[in-house]
Each structure stands twice: as C-alpha cells, then as structure tokens.
C-alpha cells in the first residue's frame, strides 16, 4: 500500500463471539483512503461494512474482538493502541455518522449542548466560544442556529440527520465515516443531504468513507469504491473502473442488478441464492456457491488479494476481463 494514505486498513479481521459460535464478520479486509478522498463501501446487508467501520474507531461491543490486521491512521497503527489514546483520536481525527442517526441524539439533552460536549471533550474552549462554533456548524448544514437550544424530539427526521452531521464535523476531523446516513429518510431529503455532505467534504478537504448498500448513491459521491461480500473485500478500485470494468463476478452482478433509466429495456438480473451465514461461511471463496463463473479451485482455496491493474485490487480466481 502507498505510504501517503491517510488511512490504510490492512488485513483487518474481526469476530463476534456469540452463544452460537464465532461470527466471522470481517475477514482479511484491506483498503485505503487518501486525504480529501471519498471512499464508498458497498455490499449487501450483513456483509461486514458497518463492522469494519466500527472496528476502525474501536467501538466494538464486549463480545467482539479484532483478531488480526493493522489500521494505520496517519501512519500510526490503531489496533494495539490503548483505550486512552484511541479516545483522543475519536471524533477529532475520525468521526462517525451512524445508521438511523435520529437515535444518535440523547433525548434528554438539548441538541446544541450535545455538540458542545463533543467539542469540549477534545479542546480547551469555554462555553461561549463553543456555542459560536456550534452556530457556525449549524449554518454549514443548513440548520437554523436558533434551534440549538431545542430538544431532539422537536426536530424532524431530516433535521436530526443534519444535526448529527454537524456534530460529526464539530472537531474538524480528518475523516468522516458515514454509515447509511440517508437510508431512514425519504428520497428527496436523501438527495439533498447527500449533495450537501459532498459539498462540505470538498470545502473542508475531508476524507470520507461512505457506507451503503445502495450502489446508485455510492456512485454519486465516491472517488473509489470497495465492494464487500460476506465479510471479505472482493474488489477495490476507482468508481469509473468499478462501473465500466468490474472484474469480480459479484461486482459485475451488482451492476447488472440495477435498472438503467437510459439505455434499452432489459430484465433485471438477480443474483441467485442468499448471502452466507457468517457463523459457518463457505469454504474457499465465499461467493462460490452463487458465482456463475465458479471453478473447482474456487471451492478449495480462498483467492488472494491482488492488484490486477494499477490501483485496481481484487480477490478472485477468475477475474472478468473486458
């Protein structure tokens, strides 16, 4: 991997221990993010995108453990770092917008106070200064600063989303991780928020990791895309390559599963089968039961993570050629 990357995840492996066994949520995942770049993580529900994201900030629940790998942020490996040190990086270096952000706000405190709390946790700044900062942030996300002293239940869904985005920006982080930030909203608001986020990102030259299962959305905002399946990263390249020349059968199938507004009418091609149970994933390549191009080696051995073209990574025994 290139040394100049702001964030470089290498061979990240993370498991959940449950009463039924070990769920192999993230297995040998690698990707990287440069400064000011936007990375999209796409995949079906349960493929490990959120798990990978929370692993970066080490927000793991009690029964989860990072078993292997490195997470280099500004060339410092976060994996062995103790909790005290990680806390300093959280929010100030990397912040996160969670899924269903409306629940990210504590209902008994005012919205403005929760943003102030985030700021004061990392900087020595008095209340008045912090309030001014919050007012600016509100304006940045197109919220009325007067609303700072209201409670979360007095906000609409879209407003809560914006407030959470403002909160994520509060400490001027280098990277924002946005986990399906618009899924809970209606389409129109979704579109607006998406573009606003992208504008902000460009203005502040922030890195962004955008997680979604909606490939259309990913395509709009990402510079590079990482495709995940069943806890593994299967393909990683820039957006144009992924769309025009997907080399992994799964990526290819994903592209075909979406209708195109322009172009000729055709039947939607679905991917047969179901995502595997991560308690007991398939042997070899995890996609092999559903892959139309499967060969015997796919069932035996896990494919290696290779760079088939400059900046185009894939894990497949039979990459498609174009």
């Amino acid at each position: 991997m290139i040394g100049v990357a702001l964030l470089a995840v290498e061979n990240l492996t993370m498991h959940y221990t449950t009463t039924k066994g070990d769920v192999q949520a993230v297995d040998d995942v690698s990707f990287e993010l440069a400064k000011g770049e936007s990375l999209g993580l796409v995949g079906e529900s349960g493929c490990g995108k959120t798990s990978a994201a929370i692993s970066i900030l080490k927000l793991l629940p009690e029964n989860a453990k990072i078993l292997d790998g490195h997470i280099y942020f500004k060339e410092q490996d976060l994996v062995p770092l103790p909790e005290k040190e990680i806390r300093k990086i959280r929010w100030k270096g990397i912040s996160m917008v969670f899924q269903a952000a409306m629940n990210s706000l504590n209902p008994v405190y005012r919205v403005g106070d929760q943003l102030i709390e985030a700021i004061q946790a990392h900087e020595k700044i008095d209340k008045e200064e912090a309030r001014k900062r919050v007012a600016e942030l509100f304006q940045l996300v197109d919220l009325d600063p007067e609303r700072m002293d209201h409670y979360p239940h007095e906000y609409s869904g879209g407003m809560k989303q914006r407030a959470v985005i403002a909160m994520a920006l509060a400490c001027n982080p280098d990277i924002i991780i946005a986990d399906e930030p618009t899924t809970a909203l209606d389409v129109i608001v979704q579109d607006r928020i998406l573009h606003e986020m992208d504008k902000i990102r460009e203005r502040l030259n922030m890195g962004m990791i955008y997680i979604s299962h909606d490939i259309a959305v990913i395509a709009e905002v990402s510079d590079r895309i990482g495709v995940m399946y069943a806890g593994k990263m299967v393909e990683f390249a820039d957006t144009v390559t992924i769309f025009k020349r997907p080399a992994h059968p799964y990526t290819h199938a994903l592209m075909n599963a979406f209708p195109s507004l322009l172009g000729e009418k055709r039947d939607l091609q679905m991917i047969v089968g179901e995502p595997p149970d991560l308690l007991d994933p398939p042997s070899g390549c995890r996609f092999h039961p559903r892959c139309p191009y499967v060969t015997p080696v796919c069932e035996r051995e896990e494919p290696r993570w290779e760079e088939i073209e400059p900046n185009h990574f894939i894990a497949c025994w039979n990459p498609l050629s174009h």
Partner: protein, 385 residues
C-alpha cells in the same frame, strides 16, 4: 399543564371520596366496637358500656353515622375525635406522630435510594462477573428477608451485643426530664434542619457544577460544604440548648434506619440495573463513546441520566408506600409513628382514628403519585401534559 393539574386534582377528590367511604364501611363491618375491650372487665358494667356507645354516637343507624362522618371530613375538614384517646382530636394525634414517621422513613428512603442508584449504575456498567452476581444475590436476599427476623437480629447486634444504640423506642424518657419541650417540636426542628441543609448542599452542588471544572476540586468544595452544614447545625442546636435531645432521638434512629435501608435498597438497585441495561443498548450511547468521551462520563451523564427516569418514579412512589411497610418496622422498634397508630387504632376499633389515619395515608399516596408524574415530566423533556 394547568389543565392537567386541575383534572388530576378533581380525580383525586373523587378517589378520596370513594376510598373514605370504603374505609368507613370496612371498619364498621368489623365485629364489635371500641367497648369490646371492656367486655371481660368486671368493673365495667354493661350499662356503662351502653352509655359509652350512646355517647360516642355508635348506636345511630349506619347511614346517619356515615353522613355525619362524610360531612365532617369533606365539609368541615376535620377527622373527629379519637375514641381511645378521648377527647384528643384525631388530627392532633396524627400531627403529633407524623414527624416521627416522616423523619425516619424519609432518611432511610433517601439513603436506600442513593445506595441502590449508585450500585445499580455500577453493576450494570460492568456486566457479568463476580460483582454483579454477588451484588444481585445480596440485594435480593435483603429485599426478601423476613423483616421481623432481620430487625430483631440487627437490634440484638447493635443494641444488645455491641451496646452502641438503644434497643427500641424513639427517646429515652430519663433524658427528657428537665425540659418542657415535646418530642414533636424536636422532630420538627430536625426536619427543618434537614431541609435547610439539603437546600444548602443542593445549591452548592449546582454552583460547583457550573463554575468549577475539575472533579477533585468540586469534591473538595462539596465536602467542605457538607462539613459546614453539619457544623452549623451543631452550633445552632447547642446554642438553643436542645442538642442533647436531638442527639438522643438520633441515636434511637440509627438501628431502625439501618434496618429500613438494608431491606429496601435492593429494589432500587435492581430496577436501576435493568433500566441501565435497556439504556445502554441505545445508539446515543455508542455515539457518546465515538465522541471520545471518557467511560465514566458516558455512564453517568448519558446512560444513568436516562435510566434514572423509571427509578425516580418508583422512588417517589415508595415514599408513599413507606407508611405501609412502616407498620411492621415501627412495631418491632416500638416507634410510635403513623404505622403503629394504624395498627393500634385498628385493633382497638377506634373508628375515627383508624379511618382518619387510613384516609390520611391515602391522600398522601395520591399526592405522591401526582408529584411522581410531574417529576417525570420535568426530567424527560419528551413528556408534555
């Protein structure tokens, strides 16, 4: 908000009316009456008993007695005169005995609540492990322990074996020989002192939270405020010359308070733990962690604050129910408060006193419910009336 209050108050009046009527009928359904205790007394002839019944109006038809009583309570606002303490009015007796119960239960409930709240918070945060199991077992064990047995055991330990505290009663009569003050006055003074001290400490606590950032500095200031409060109270009482009386009562209070606290903290602790476990699953807790806040801040400011809501409600309600559990404890310790009054009035069939006490506790409970609801609305901004 005001409309809600008015509605609630009207409901309270209606409920009190029904409740009083049922109490009345219930007591009159008991066989015998106040004169029954003289039944086997050879010095009290039947004629005298009949005269007593007539004098107390007990030979009138039931509906007439009922109407008279209702009229007294609701229109004239008085509970009548006690039969067994004739001619002391019921209200006087209640007024006299109420502070005794109040001081005891209020203190015990506050301590139990605080202990339960803190422990519940801690064991919920550190899930599993020896701490949680042992705390739960101890909490449940004490919550379900047979109160008379436990009380007797504690009396034996602290009063008899160790001799630190008196065995029962609420004061040592020998110490009160040279004063004209009544225990009621002293109890009232104690209540005043407690209220004043609490207000002061609350004020100091709020001010320090706003002005002083460091935890250790705040702790020092709060602690010195506490020491100051105790010192000021001590000085105020000794200058009045009543310090030794107050201390006497205080020493009688210790064992009952230990008993009450130990048997009731378990409930709050387990409730707080459950509430915390529900709250911790919420997304805003994860967000707080992602914000890089220290563990203790997340636990206290975010999780505990929201988990507090059902616990506070149950706390307020338990103050109301303290009167009921008080019957057992007050009897064991011979503490002459409302609980014991209930018991003795009932057993003696002193209708006015018994019904009066029942109704009084009923009103108290209803108002406690109302306060609980208002408090809940204050703590949770999502609730609006």
């Amino acid at each position: 908000m005001w409309k809600y209050l008015v509605k609630r108050l009207l409901q309270i009046v209606f409920v009190i009316y029904i409740y009083t009527s049922i109490c009345f009928l219930l007591f009159y359904a008991m066989p015998g009456n106040i004169t029954s205790m003289y039944a086997t007394n050879p010095n009290v002839k039947p004629a005298m008993r009949a005269k007593l019944i007539e004098q107390l109006g007990l030979n009138q038809p039931l509906y007439k007695q009922y109407l008279t009583y209702m009229d007294n309570v609701f229109i004239k606002h008085q509970f009548g005169v006690s039969f067994s303490h004739y001619p002391t009015p019921v209200w006087t007796i209640i007024k006299r005995r109420l502070p005794r119960t109040f001081v005891l239960f209020f203190t015990a409930t506050i301590i139990a609540f605080y202990v339960g709240f803190t422990w519940g918070k801690i064991i919920a945060w550190k899930r599993g492990g020896v701490l949680e199991y042992s705390a739960t077992l101890v909490g449940v064990g004490l919550w379900t322990v047979f109160t008379p047995m436990w009380g007797l055991l504690l009396i034996w330990l602290f009063a008899f074996k160790l001799g630190w505290f008196p065995i029962n009663q609420f004061l040592t009569p020998g110490k009160w020989l040279h004063t004209t003050l009544s225990s009621t006055t002293i109890f009232n003074h104690m209540l005043l002192t407690a209220v004043a001290a609490s207000l002061l400490l609350f004020l100091v606590y709020s001010l320090t939270r706003r002005l002083i950032k460091g935890r250790s500095e705040r702790a020092v200031v709060n602690f010195s405020a506490l020491a100051f409060a105790i010192g000021a109270a001590w000085w105020a009482w000794s200058s009045k010359g009543t310090l030794y009386l107050g201390l006497d009562i205080l020493s009688h209070m210790i064992v009952p308070i230990i008993t009450l606290t130990t048997i009731s903290f378990g409930g709050t602790m387990l409730l707080m733990r459950d509430s915390m476990l529900e709250t911790v699953k919420e997304d805003y807790i994860t967000t707080a962690k992602a914000k890089g806040l220290p563990d203790r801040v997340i636990r206290d400011r975010h999780a505990a604050r929201t988990a507090l809501l059902p616990v506070v409600t149950s706390f307020v309600l338990s103050i109301a129910f303290a009167v009921d559990g008080g019957v057992i404890t007050e009897t064991i310790f011979s503490w002459p408060g409302i609980g014991m009054t209930l018991l003795s009035a009932t057993v003696q069939m002193d209708y006015p006193l018994a019904i009066g006490t029942f109704v009084f506790t009923g009103i108290f409970v209803l108002f406690a419910h109302l306060v609980a609801d208002i408090l809940y609305a204050y703590l949770d901004p999502r609730i609006k009336y």
